[in-house]
């Protein structure tokens, strides 16, 4: 008979196999199968633990996992079918149109405009401008306002 530890190691191995499969295969169907593999490994874990602890909940959880796995399988397959209809391929790396775009080239991004972007707030000259352009007293302001 197998020890609990051994069963757990086997299921971990199965889990990692599924993980590697998910990461390496490009075929969408096989990727989803790999996820099923991971879920099956988890189910083994639950059942083993439940058997060892004398708890029925382990099996219950495994049943739930089976249910969810079939849900995911159904959605996954429907998705695969829908996607295959569009591109006629099962290659997941074909679906990469949504990604980070490269920043625009320097010439395109309008480097010249950048010079004018930094418009820092400046204090208003109180009444007469500091550069003494308008040495006329207060009246100039009133005149400006009219304008």
């Amino acid at each position: 008979m197998l020890q609990l530890n051994e069963i757990l190691m086997l299921s971990s191995g199965m889990f990692v196999l599924g993980l590697i499969g998910f990461l390496t295969r490009k075929n969408m169907i096989l990727m989803f199968l790999a996820v099923e593999l991971m879920l099956a490994a988890v189910a083994i874990n639950f059942v083993a633990f439940g058997s060892r602890l004398g708890l029925q909940q382990g099996q219950l959880f495994a049943v739930l996992i089976l249910t969810v796995a079939s849900c995911e399988a159904a959605i996954g397959l429907a998705l695969v079918v829908a996607m295959y209809k569009r591109k006629s391929t099962l290659d997941i790396s074909q679906w990469d149109s949504l990604h980070e775009v490269e920043p625009p080239k320097l010439a395109e991004s309008g480097e010249v405009e950048d010079d004018n972007i930094h418009d820092y707030p400046t204090l208003a000259p109180a009444g007469l401008a500091p550069n003494a352009q308008s040495t006329v007293k207060g009246g100039s302001r009133a005149a400006n306002e009219k304008a």
Binding site: V35, M38, L39, V42, A48, L60, G76, W95, S97, L98
Partner: protein, 485 residues
């Protein structure tokens, strides 16, 4: 045979039941609807209003029924502070999303869309009331599967399909990781009750327990878009329809955080695993907020920017989780931040949705220009939402950040203090890109951009517009009366 106890054990999730029943009713009603010619896409508004009405009725009757339930841990669902605030959050987010999508539900799929939205929100209620690993897990699946469905039907071009695929594949992957952690938790604790799991972990913090914790955290980190589990977010956001972006940035995040609180936030955990678990969460939070903010800084694409902004906010929320773990006083500040986040994010999404004719076009930051000139109220509302996202006083976002920072500083824990400093610095960085949007919203658009000009000539989506205004008003109201958060 249904005994009275078994029926009574459902009371804590009564709102979820109400939603499920309404969802099924919508589906059944749809079946009896006379079929029309497919050339004329049927208006989906009726279903949308029905869904929204169901949400509001269920929420309202639940909050005003005022029945104080006995908090019974032995059953599958309990009714404690977290379950109540989680349910309120779910209802709030659900109502807002439903309101945004009133005019934007996919033609021909209105009934499915809104029924599944109700199922999704009910899943959130299950998550927040769960006392058992089984119900927690099924609740999470109840959130993610309808999400996939909504993603798939709301945008049916190549980009929509691609974003659905990405979300689905990675979601299934992360769900498997989460389950692996759950199985170890089950084995170590010898029970599926969450309270017993937390107690046994803290009584016996072993390496295996930590591994289980890490796997569970990793699984949930996908839902809350924590780095490095966030990569799907910008792609999916830019590929889905606009209201769905709002949905994705709030509902799964609520689910993730409430589940984390359910699993880890038990008062028992602080004694045992806390040091190493705390380190993990803080590190995750710091990386998340930094990456989110810096990535958002370089973005010119509005949708991707919002995705990164949601990543950054996850970082702040994770800091709140860390503080909640240390304090043990409950996660009130985290919940406050979450509710502020829900309202301000959905408010901004609603504002963007309101001005664009189509929900699937690519949005640049510059497309936001001139909103205020076109419609002062909308511009002001979006500005308020942005200010709230920055965390400026006069908005609810301020209280969120304030409470989390306070929780971080109060325990005099070096790690949390460092985290608090990082959080402040990050908020300052985040302010830059929010300000960039703010300026665009409030500036006159360039005259030559005639296409952009025609876009925002009027409000094209009145319900979304109203939602945006309501969100902005709520944001300000919550600043004044924070106890309503």
């Amino acid at each position: 045979m249904l005994t009275r106890e078994i029926l009574n054990s459902l009371l804590p999730v009564a709102p979820a039941l109400g939603l499920i029943i309404s969802g099924c009713a919508i589906l059944i009603a749809w079946m009896f609807q006379p079929q029309q010619d497919d050339d004329q896409p049927r208006s989906s508004n009726g279903w949308a209003w029905a869904g929204l009405a169901a949400l509001i009725v269920v929420w309202g009757s639940w909050s005003f029924s005022g029945s104080t339930l006995v908090d019974n841990e032995a059953t599958l669902f309990r009714s404690d502070v977290l379950s109540r605030s989680g349910t309120h959050l779910a209802m709030l987010a659900g109502c807002l999303v439903a309101a945004i999508t009133i005019n934007r539900s996919p033609s021909g799929f209105g009934a499915e869309f809104h029924a599944c939205l109700l199922f999704l929100v009910s899943g959130l209620c299950f998550v927040s009331a769960a006392t058992d690993l089984t119900t927690l897990y099924l609740g999470l699946e109840m959130v993610s599967i309808p999400t996939i469905l909504l993603l798939a039907i709301s945008r049916r071009d190549d980009s929509g399909m691609e974003s659905t695929l990405k979300y689905f594949a990675l979601s299934a992957f992360s769900s498997a990781i989460f389950l692996m952690g759950c199985s170890f938790l089950f084995g170590i604790a010898g029970s599926t009750k969450l309270s017993e799991i937390a107690a046994s972990i803290s009584a016996n913090p072993s390496i295996a327990a930590y591994i289980a914790f890490a796997l569970v955290l990793a699984g949930l980190a996908f839902r809350v878009t924590a780095v490095p589990f966030h990569f799907y977010a910008p792609d999916v956001f830019s590929g889905c329809s606009l209201p769905l972006g709002g949905l994705l940035s709030t509902l799964p995040k609520i689910a993730g955080f409430v589940a984390m609180l359910r699993l880890l936030g038990g008062p028992a955990l602080q004694s045992g695993l806390a040091p190493v678990a705390l380190n993990t969460i803080v590190v995750l939070a710091l990386i998340t907020m930094t990456v989110g903010n810096f990535a958002a800084l370089a973005q010119m694409n509005c949708r991707r920017l919002l995705a990164y902004s949601s990543v950054a906010h996850s970082g702040y929320l994770l800091m709140g989780l860390a503080a909640a773990l240390v304090q043990g006083t409950g996660a009130q500040s985290l919940i406050m931040y979450l509710s502020a986040y829900v309202v301000m994010t959905l408010g901004f999404f609603a504002g963007v949705t309101a001005i664009f004719e189509r929900t699937d076009e690519n949005l640049d930051l510059d497309d936001l220009q001139g909103v205020t000139q076109k419609n002062l109220l909308l511009g002001a509302s979006m500005t308020v939402c942005l200010l709230s996202l920055i965390g400026i006083p006069i908005t609810a976002g301020f209280w969120g950040k304030f409470m989390i920072l306070r929780d971080l500083i109060a325990p005099q824990n070096t790690l949390l203090l460092v985290g608090a400093i990082f959080m402040v610095v990050n908020s300052a960085i985040g302010a830059i890109y929010y300000l960039a949007m703010l300026i665009r919203v409030n500036t006159q658009k360039p005259t030559e951009g005639s296409q952009a000009e025609s876009r925002t000539t009027s409000i094209v989506d009145l319900p979304a517009f109203a939602t945006c205004v309501i969100c902005a008003a709520t944001t300000i109201l919550w600043f004044i009366v924070p106890k309503w958060m």
